[in-house]
Amino acid sequence: MWQFFHKLGSPKWFFGISARFMPWLLAGGILLLMAGVVWGLAFAPKDYLQGNSYRIIFIHVPTAFMAQSVYIMMASAAVVTLVWRMKLADVFVKAVAPVGLVLTFLALFTGAVWGKPTWGTWWIWDARLTSMLILLFLYGGVIALDRAINDEKSAARAVAVLVLVGVVNIPIIKYSVDWWNTLHQPATFKLTEKPSMPAEMWVPLLLSVLGLYLIFGWLACVRMQTEILCREQRTRWVKEFVMKGRV
């Protein structure tokens, strides 16, 4: 098992294996996301209370969900960086932090645009919205810290510590709507209960969540490959890949 784990840390091995998955990730992701979005926009019934403005949910929930799960993935990678000093874990954190930043921004933006017609305001400093804004700043901080430190190894460790410190924000985001009075409603999806929406609404939502997940996987692969090529320029296998087009 440990052998497999260490093989996983080899950039060359990752480069070869990711190239095999990437077309599937991209095609599946686009297909699922488009299916979910078209279904949600044009075919799902409107909500009895909010009318058609609720259709923003089909991108708001996927981006918000992904923003948080990307951070959890980054935190797991940060543990691997700190404990096992695996290069690939650090490559992952650096490659996906900008993606997380964009996803968090999208969740906040779609939420604000949704809030205006339903709540009557673009923004309110309630616990859910504020903790999500903190997540945006955490992503920004991770990117800035990584750029600020030139030495690769010390940058990796500093970034990993920052990512780990920030992970306490994730349960706060998740449970803010249950622990405190907020304007934001509680979660529609819970692990233990049936979703509080009918299937013709939650199926398209699930499709777009899965689609965005796959697209994120593809994005992570492309960006990790970029980072690996940048770091391993001097190795023989990168030279062979660049000159001959294969690993």
């Binding site: 440990w2 404990v83 709540w119 992970v167 405190w180 013709e200």
Partner: protein
């Protein structure tokens, strides 16, 4: 596992545990400030400060909305099913404002215990459904004489 890695892992886990305890205690101590609004029970128990800008939130009580025919003035009761607070507001209400619907109002509590709002925001719950289903549910519940139209569980306003 290598002993050095084991040691590093314990350090990381301790760091995380300590950090979460610290953040947990801080947010617990600040919970009054993190809460977006006071609910009607808190206000009627005198926990909310008088004549300071605060927010009050709750369910608009059924049958309590009084609209002034000449101006935009509205008066209604906000309830959490154990206490209720009268709110007055002059202005345009959000589209989702309705009896039985959750709201959050921003304004001041005056000395008579009335809440004078300058902003009213609508709050909705996590339940989504097509209009036909909502209509059918409402019919069913009014036939049984239940007050809650949407869901059997108490509303999370």
């Amino acid at each position: 596992m290598h002993p050095i890695r084991k040691k590093r892992l314990t350090v990381v886990l301790f760091l995380l545990a300590g950090l979460s305890i610290a953040v947990g205690l801080t947010t617990y101590a600040l919970r009054q400030n993190i809460n977006l609004f006071y609910d009607p029970s808190q206000i009627s128990a005198g926990e909310a400060p008088v004549d300071v800008r605060i927010r009050a939130g709750g369910m608009v009580q059924e049958g309590s909305v009084l609209r002034d025919p000449d101006t935009l003035k509205v008066e209604f009761l906000v309830t959490d099913y154990s206490a209720s607070v009268p709110i007055e507001y002059v202005g345009i209400l959000p589209d989702l404002f309705a009896e039985g619907q959750g709201i959050v109002a921003m304004g001041r509590l005056n000395s008579e215990g009335r809440f004078v709002a300058d902003q009213v925001l609508a709050k909705h719950d996590e339940n989504y459904m097509p209009p036909e289903v909502a209509g059918a549910l409402e019919k069913a519940s009014s036939a049984e004489g239940k007050p809650m139209p949407v869901n059997a569980k108490p509303a999370t306003y």
